[in-house]
């Protein structure tokens, strides 16, 4: 495998850049996500022929065409079972699933929760722009309540999903959140997701310039990000704000924003992030934090280890191969009650 090793260590972004013309709208957040992803792939330490990029339908799902790997652009909502079949068949493959808020939370909602529950070692990037872009502007399961869209001219009358809450509720072992205008953060999180054993879900707050421009402006614009973003790091206190003077504490059973220095509060009083905490309680609370009361939480919110579907499957198969008397189909055909004539 010396060749393989050499091959991996010398890979660059260009090794994964496809020759297809990228057809997303100018200014779409997807461009930045693609660029970060292409930079991360060589850093993952996997052979280029072992990477598979899978998607469903939607703007985000054009992604596989723009990455020079094995790729499969599926049908609407079905990226999760497509990726599952690939991973179960060959657990050595490094599978990335690209999806959106419509693809995975509406039409593919069922597959999405079951992928998380099975904890297959698949990396999922969910581009959340809170709108249907490819069909030109209908509301999605994450569109804020009351928002006027082409199919909700009087405002939506549905309660939106919070991606993190849903994913952790479905027993997801890894959940992270990032924004499309912060390439450094995206790269860091993609790398950690790629290395996590189990289903890694990254929610990327992505801007649709055409149908929901500035959808994330309250947390992602130059003016708002310092006051409205909290980037979590494991083992560190939860501090945010332009002056790094605000923090999060747990009072009773609720989270609360405090100002360091007020009422004698010091850094020591702040919550310290523990992404490995098995109990999902605090992780869900963090995932649900949002302006105007709270900053939005970015970074790796949850990362716990548990067995993966495909590794258990391989174990069982190995055990059966070693212990079963049926080694071939001829053995099977001749097993049980038979008679000669």
């Amino acid at each position: 495998m010396a060749d393989g090793f050499q091959e991996i260590t010398t890979l660059t972004k260009e090794d994964f850049t496809s020759d297809q013309m990228v057809k997303w709208c100018p200014g779409c957040g997807d461009h930045a996500i693609l660029s970060s992803f292409l930079k991360v792939l060589p850093e993952l330490g996997v052979r280029k022929q072992d990477v598979v990029v899978v998607s469903g339908i939607g703007c985000s799902s054009r992604f596989p065409y723009y990455v020079k790997t094995y790729g499969f652009h599926g049908i609407h909502g079905r990226a999760a079972p497509l990726a599952s079949g690939i991973k179960i068949t060959n657990p050595d493959l490094h599978v990335w699933m690209i999806t959106g808020d419509g693809d995975s939370l509406a039409i593919g909602g069922n597959h999405f929760i079951h992928l998380l529950r099975r904890n297959l070692d698949i990396n999922v990037m969910l581009f959340n722009n809170k709108i249907y872009g490819l069909t030109k502007g209908q509301y999605s399961p994450t569109t804020p309540a009351g928002k006027k869209t082409k199919t909700s001219p009087q405002g939506t009358i549905e309660h939106p999903f919070n991606v993190g809450e849903l994913a952790i509720g479905a027993q997801g072992t890894f959940f992270a959140r990032t924004v499309d205008n912060n390439p450094k953060m995206m790269g860091e999180i993609m790398l950690e997701a790629g290395r996590h054993k189990g289903t890694s879900l990254i929610e990327i707050l992505q801007n649709c310039v055409i149908f929901f421009n500035n959808v994330h402006a309250d947390v992602a614009s130059k003016e708002t990000k310092d006051e409205n973003q909290l980037f979590l790091r494991h083992g560190e206190p939860m501090i945010f704000g332009k002056e790094n003077d605000k923090g999060i504490i747990l009072r009773g059973t609720n989270l609360e924003v405090v100002k360091i220095g007020d009422h004698g509060i010091t850094e020591k009083d702040l919550l310290v992030h523990d992404k490995y905490q098995r109990d999902p309680g605090i992780h869900v609370m963090l995932a649900k934090m949002a302006p105007p009361v709270f900053p939005i939480v970015l970074g790796v919110i949850r990362s716990v280890t548990d067995f993966t579907f495909e590794s258990k499957m391989e174990q069982i198969i190995q055990y059966e191969i070693e212990t079963s008397l049926i080694k071939t189909v001829d053995d099977l055909l001749n097993s049980g009650k038979t008679w000669e004539i």
């Binding site: 280029k48 499969f72 493959l93 198969i317 038979t338």
Partner: protein, 617 residues
């Protein structure tokens, strides 16, 4: 067994039906009786007939569970029309099954269950054993319950427990009547109840008590029957149901092709057994995903196929509807996949445990766009093995989805299966691309078959992207070019059409030409053969063309049709195959005969219909 028999009558073939409450163990009784028939060297076919409910209200007609076996000295093709012998454990099974007993046939009942309460539950106003309604039958009134209890009274078991084995008393009676050996049933008890010697003993005793009871009853002991061994060709045999045969045929195709089996599937009656069976055989490398729904079942299989597995999904009609869009994806990506549809009576939920041939048009045409797939249909429980294998071979060698149609009748029914040797099965050579093949292009085609090649992730030098968007010819890049789309639609259709160059020509049972050609497909094969044989024995010029290859049809189909004066297409639907034949062969006139009751055809109704058509001017 020292008793002297008055008379032993030899029979060509016999139909026996066991019927009881759904908890009475009728399926087991039937299975043990089948095994004894196997030991005696008979050919046989069986069919279980059970309610859709797991434990329908006890004692009612809706809760009746039945098991029919047709065994014989001659070759057996079906589980039989009407029963020569009915064993009815209670009044309800008698009520439900009387219409399936030949006039003059024998009915054995447990008289002790014919009390007011159970008669009322079964919907009888009068006791049929005493009201004279059964005078046309030979009714054997057996006190099965009390004799069962008596045979084990010194074993210290509670009587409720003992009565659970009442079915073995009935089996014992049948063993006497048909001169069967105890050995296979005893073996079963010893294996099944290994941990509990007392239960082994009680079952053996009850079986023998039934046997001895029959010996002492004049009506039974005066004549017993012998069915000589069938003239089956030399070899090793087993009993097999269609679902098990399908699962094993898929495993055989996996082993032969060197591609590990992947099944993505969701439980659905009557196909679930395929999912269960393949879940067992992980020692053969089979990977099974019990998916969250029918769609995930097929889509995970498409993913598995992309990754290089021999991928399969199994379902029934409603599930096939849900898989529709994904089958289109497999058509577009030209990946091999087998979709097994064990048909049941529809539409919608329909009658899940009843059989029908009504998914044919859905299999052929039920997709958006021009989306041709190969469609095969198995015709018996045992040949499900061969057509599952063939479905795998065609899918992998021609890089196409293949739909294999079976149905509840052959899937749950069983018959004698001559065990094949893997070495005798034809090779399967999938067009797998070697690493760093410089000529490889995702949609470059084999010039003869027109299939593309299989480039498997993990292989160096073959990275490529596919998906549901239209592909540019050869390169496989996304294309909306008008002429390219026409070309690709035609190529996909022609690829499927050319499968006809690689299959066996259509065969005919009977003379090559004549007055009437019966054209059928799927599970009706057995009953068609019997009906056509009967016509031929009566001197009629009737032949049978039974189709296993539905799309494409064999190349010699038209030529065969042209050699007969009349053609009739009997089907268990309202005329789906006949519609397809009319579309493809417009110069012929096709008669049709359709039945859609959730029940198989009967030989006599077919013979009547064939005669009617022959006589028509």
């Amino acid at each position: 067994m020292t008793t002297k028999r008055h008379k032993v009558v030899e029979l060509e073939n016999v139909v026996v039906r066991f019927a009881g409450d759904s908890g009475d163990g009728m399926q087991l009784t039937g299975t043990l009786f089948s095994e004894a028939a196997a030991v005696a060297g008979n050919d046989f076919a069986t069919f279980p007939d059970y309610p859709a409910e797991i434990r329908a209200p006890q004692g009612t007609v809706s809760g009746v569970s039945g098991f029919q076996i047709h065994f014989g000295h001659k070759e057996i093709f079906t589980s039989g029309d009407l029963a020569d012998v009915l064993v009815a454990m209670n009044p309800a099974p008698l009520k439900k099954n009387l219409m399936w007993v030949k006039k003059g046939g024998t009915i054995i009942v447990d008289t002790e269950t014919f009390n007011d309460k159970s008669l009322e539950k079964a919907g009888y106003n009068e006791n049929p054993l005493t009201d004279g309604s059964l005078t046309e039958y030979n009714v054997i009134k057996a006190p099965i319950s009390s004799l069962t209890k008596k045979s084990c009274e010194d074993l210290g078991l509670d009587s409720k427990m003992i009565l659970k084995s009442r079915n073995m008393f009935a089996l014992g009676i049948m063993f006497f009547v048909f001169n069967r050996e105890f050995s296979s049933a005893d073996e079963y008890f010893e294996k099944k109840f290994r941990a509990n010697p007392l239960i082994i003993e009680s079952n053996k005793r009850i079986l023998r008590a039934g046997y001895n009871f029959a010996d002492t009853i004049e009506a039974l002991s005066s004549i017993t029957y012998k069915v000589e061994p069938a003239k089956l060709s030399k070899g090793k045999y087993r009993n097999i149901t269609g679902n098990i045969a399908t699962a094993w045929g898929l495993l055989a195709a996996s082993e032969k092709s060197g591609r590990k089996l992947f099944l993505g599937s969701y439980p659905i009656t009557p196909a679930t057994e395929i999912l269960q069976e393949l879940s067992i055989h992980k020692s053969l490398g089979a990977k099974v995903l019990q998916a969250e729904d029918e769609i995930a079942g097929i889509v995970s299989s498409i993913g598995a196929s992309f990754a290089g597995a021999f991928a399969v999904t199994s379902t029934s009609g409603p599930g096939l509807s849900l898989k529709t869009e994904a089958i289109g994806l497999a058509v577009m990506t030209e990946l091999p996949i087998v979709i097994v549809d064990v048909q049941r009576a529809g539409p919608s939920t329909g009658m899940p445990t009843k059989s029908e041939q009504s998914d044919l048009l859905q299999a052929l045409f039920g997709r958006n766009g021009e989306a041709p797939v190969v469609v095969l249909a198995a015709s018996s429980s045992s040949n499900c093995f061969y057509y599952a294998y063939e479905a795998g071979k065609i899918a992998m060698e021609h890089m196409t989805p293949v739909i294999l149609l079976t149905d509840g009748y052959i899937a749950n029914g069983s018959e004698v299966f001559r065990i094949p040797k893997m070495a005798d099965l034809p090779p399967i050579n999938p067009p797998i691309v070697e690493a760093e093949d410089l000529i490889y292009r995702p949609y470059l085609r084999n010039p003869e078959k027109l299939n593309r090649s299989w480039a498997i992730p993990g292989t160096l030098g073959l990275r490529h992207r596919i998906g549901g968007l239209e592909k540019e010819n050869i390169s496989g890049n996304v294309s909306h070019d008008p002429e390219n789309h026409q070309l690709m639609c035609e190529l996909r259709a022609e690829k499927v059409r050319r499968v006809a160059n690689y299959i066996e020509p259509q065969t005919i049972f009977g003379p090559k030409s004549g007055d009437l050609l019966v054209v059928s497909w799927g599970s009706t094969y057995g009953v068609m053969i019997e009906a056509v044989k009967e016509m031929q024995d009566a001197g009629k010029k009737v032949s049978l063309a039974h189709f296993h290859y539905i799309n494409p049809l064999p190349n010699n189909t038209e030529e065969i049709f042209g050699r007969f004066k009349k053609i009739i297409v009997p089907e268990l639907n309202l005329g789906q195959f006949v519609l397809y034949l009319r579309m493809n062969f417009q110069k012929f006139r096709f008669y049709q005969y359709n039945k859609i009751q959730g029940l198989p055809f009967m030989v006599m109704e077919l013979v009547d219909k064939f005669n009617e058509i022959l006589e028509e001017e």
